[in-house]
């Protein structure tokens, strides 16, 4: 549905734009799948070797005994380009294949994990936006004051400290000081909503800190730029209250690039989830990725990468579309 103020002609243009972008994604998607299929096979060691180890006698190398059978069963006996073609056809039909280890459909495995990661990411985004934008505004409005220096220092610290260090600090320091730490026994929301939230918040903090810091800095920069504009001076000259000038006139315009960056940063949360889910023992997509790489479970790795790539592309499209809505000058002609 089109937002108010967008004409029906504009809506048609936008729809065409979206369709063009979606079609344009197909080659990108094919290239990504091509790279994924090849690259996971370039990782030293293979699932066949692992299976042979497990099934081949005390770690002895049973070359030739059942390697061919395992490869055939796993569909790894075909040339890689054939595997690629089969994979593309499968994906087009919504079939991402099966785990090489427990034969579960990859879509099922991913579907089980996505909600967990999505919840962590959502909490991270909501809290970081809630914190970072007021901080950025405050910093800009109080430019070159002690408050500004303090907030900027905190932002730089947030950007500088890697997520794994923050996560480890959250786990370790309370343990060493007070003998308590976060719980590592995962429960679903349905099992125990309060406990679930307690589990979700620490990894969300790890993901949110860097996001908050970068958004806060960008908000500050954009606010400073906007506050120099003539229309802000005009608004003040008209006698508007400063709060109204900042919130209604300055912030609204300053947020346009912030929204763009936020959209891109959200995709980074997926990468960050690998670390935060490992530290806090959260069974999300990041953990599935790590365990699948370790086990050389190609279909699962491929499935996660392909799904992530689709998500990133759609997020970029959403950002571009929203940009058009936020800034009429950026709408497709």
């Amino acid at each position: 549905m089109l937002a108010a103020g967008v004409s029906s002609a504009g809506g048609v243009h936008m729809a065409k734009y979206v369709i063009r972008r979606l079609i344009g994604m197909v080659p990108t998607w094919l290239i990504i799948m091509f790279m994924v299929v090849f690259m996971v096979r370039l990782i030293p060691g293979s699932v066949v070797d692992l299976l042979l180890q497990e099934q081949g006698g005390g770690g002895s190398y049973q070359e030739g005994i059942d390697r061919a059978a395992i490869e055939k069963r796993l569909g790894l006996s075909d040339p890689v380009y054939v595997q690629y073609a089969k994979y593309v056809v499968g994906v087009a039909q919504g079939d991402l294949g099966e785990s090489l280890w427990d034969n579960q459909p990859v879509t099922t495995l991913i579907a089980q994990r996505v909600p967990v990661t999505a919840q962590v990411a959502l909490v991270a985004i909501v809290t970081s936006v809630a914190v970072s934008i007021p901080v950025g505004v405050m910093s800009a409005v109080r430019r070159d004051t002690p408050v500004d220096y303090l907030l900027r220092s905190i932002s730089i610290l947030g950007i500088s400290v890697p997520g794994f260090a923050i996560g480890t600090a959250i786990v370790i320091f309370p343990t060493l000081w007070w003998g308590v730490t976060v719980s590592f026994k995962y429960v679903t929301f349905a099992e125990d909503p309060i406990q679930h939230l307690k589990l979700i918040i620490p990894p969300a903090v790890v993901l949110g800190v860097q996001l908050s810091a970068s958004v806060a800095r960008l908000t500050r920069t954009m606010m400073l730029e906007v506050l120099q504009e003539d229309y802000i001076r005009t608004a003040r000259a008209k006698g508007l209250r400063e709060t109204k000038v900042i919130v209604k006139h300055a912030l609204k315009n300053a947020l346009i690039p912030v929204v763009t960056v936020l959209g891109i940063q959200i995709t980074n949360l997926i990468g960050g989830s690998v670390i935060s889910e490992t530290i806090f023992a959260i069974p999300g997509l990041g953990r599935l990725m790590v365990s699948s790489i370790t086990a050389r479970d190609y279909p699962v790795v491929q499935g996660i990468v392909v799904m992530t790539a689709v998500f990133v592309m759609l997020m970029n499209l959403a950002v571009d579309v929203s940009y058009g809505y936020l800034d009429p000058r950026a709408r497709p002609a």
């Binding site: 990782i43 030293p44 060691g45 293979s46 070797d49 692992l50 042979l52 180890q53 497990e54 099934q55 081949g56 006698g57 005390g58 770690g59 002895s60 190398y61 049973q62 070359e63 005994i65 059942d66 280890w101 427990d102 034969n103 480890t168 786990v171 370790i172 343990t175 060493l176 003998g179 308590v180 730490t181 976060v182 719980s183 590592f184 026994k185 995962y186 490992t278 530290i279 806090f280 023992a281 069974p283 953990r287 599935l288 790590v290 365990s291 370790t294 086990a295 050389r296």
Partner: protein, 591 residues
Amino acid sequence: MTSRTFESRVSRRSVLEGIGVGALGLAGAALIGCGGGGQAGGEAGGSAGGAAGGAASNQPKGTGLPLTAPVVQGKEKPGGTFTEHTTSTYSQHDPGTALATNIWHVIGEKGLEPDPQTGAIRPHVMTSWEVADPSGTTLVFKIKPGIKTHNMAPWNGREFTAEDVAWNLERIGGLYAERLKIPAASFQRATMVANLTKAQAVDPTTVKVTLSKPNSSFFNGLMDTRVPFAPKEMDEIGWTDPMKMGGIGPFQISEWVKDQKMNYKKHAAYFRPGEPHFDNFNWTIIPDRASAVAAFISGQTQMISSVNQLEIDQIKKAKQDANLYQWVDSNWHHFRPSVEYAPFKDLRVRKALLLAIDYAQIMDGFFGSGWGYQAALNPGFPEGWKPDKVKTLPGYNPDTKAADRAEAQKLLAAAGYPNGKGIDFQIIFQNTSGAAYPENSQRFQAQMSQVFPEMKVSLKPYADNASFSVPQAKGDFQMVSYVITAAPDAVIDMQSQYYTGGSRNYGHFSDKGLDALIDKAQAELKTDARTALLEEFQTKFVNDWVPMYVLGAQPARVMVQGNVAGFDTTAGTWYGYSATTKACRWFYVDK
């Protein structure tokens, strides 16, 4: 002490000769009672393991190996949940083909069990084990009557009988490979029951085993946790869904969520009276090590294994009542040369390196104190040379290091490699977090450059097990840095490591004399004679063969919460072979 080999049973053989097979087994069982060992027999089937005033202390227990095992006193607090952590849920569920730890280590039970400190055989599911004919090819086992399976479909607590045991022995031995369409080589624990041709139930509590030739390792092999028994219906049920698996172990599966938890509940009809003490035995999945330490300190888990000194210090500071248990372990670190690399074909070169290595510098460097010198056999084996002896040998003796290194230089020069010139090899290892291999390799590299200035040693780390195991298993290396967990029998261990074509003989070492000696030891049923053969093996290992540079047996360090008792009775070199099921002997105390 119960003998680990056949002699005490063979001595009774004359009584049994000439009697029918079924009667043989029964007579043997009646004669030897609980396995023919006074001490072991006395402890069989009892609940002694749960006594707060257990036997362990800070003193060595007959093996001469250091052992720290505090005894926790207090009134037992029955029930409760005991939680441990691990890094991932198990992926392989067929104990016959699985390489790593699997569900059967908890829900299953092995036939016999080792004394954790001496390695002596103790009765367990099998209450007696006997050689029943003069040729040594017929064995008779008595099974403890009244053992119940878990109370779940399709077994519903039925009796576990000799038929189940016979089925397990044949399956472990790979006799069903063709029928199951699994390659025979997949039954990687077959060496534990080598030479087995048939196992049959004579009556509900007696199993007769037929061997193609004598195997002095057979009884010891049945102590390995990696050969647990399962109900005979398991092939029909399948080995894919853990929630459908039921055994005879102290705990039965209750919850299994991949990457989250593996939870077990008490098997109320477990065959050891009074055990298990805990109502629940849970494994929670914590992949990150720092988080695992935090989970222990915060009381979310009750024990943590493989703790290093830094972690011990952290835990002790935050959790003062936690107990540290430490012993010389059955895991031994080594550098294995490949004899495919020309210089290593020459005994003089291999021996020069043996003399040049500063073992203490490497092991102290990574582990600090608590490790044990080892030459060929792990010192935990009754037949194994103890650390005090190994420490006096050329090469191992820190006091003669300078002279040994001078001798090493002479040997290399005589072999045509003065100062190591012309020797250029690479060490491969797994570069995983917390592993000793990288540091061991770096120290070795530094030592070699110091002793042999013209020798070139390079290092090649691999990111994980999957990538490392391929070149190791293929023998595609010049030297490898790794660790081995000893099999519960010295002959099995030496056979897999050094025998021509041995399953872990990755360096492709081959020596007819070594093979012949191992064959002889496997066939030798008299304990003294077998021990003498293993003595000869150890002597030739360091003098005539040098197929491996064993750095030493690592220290095992486990920290357990202060309100958990009974752990002292399970601590020791052979703890690893019973760690999970022995949780049934631990219990909470009021403190």
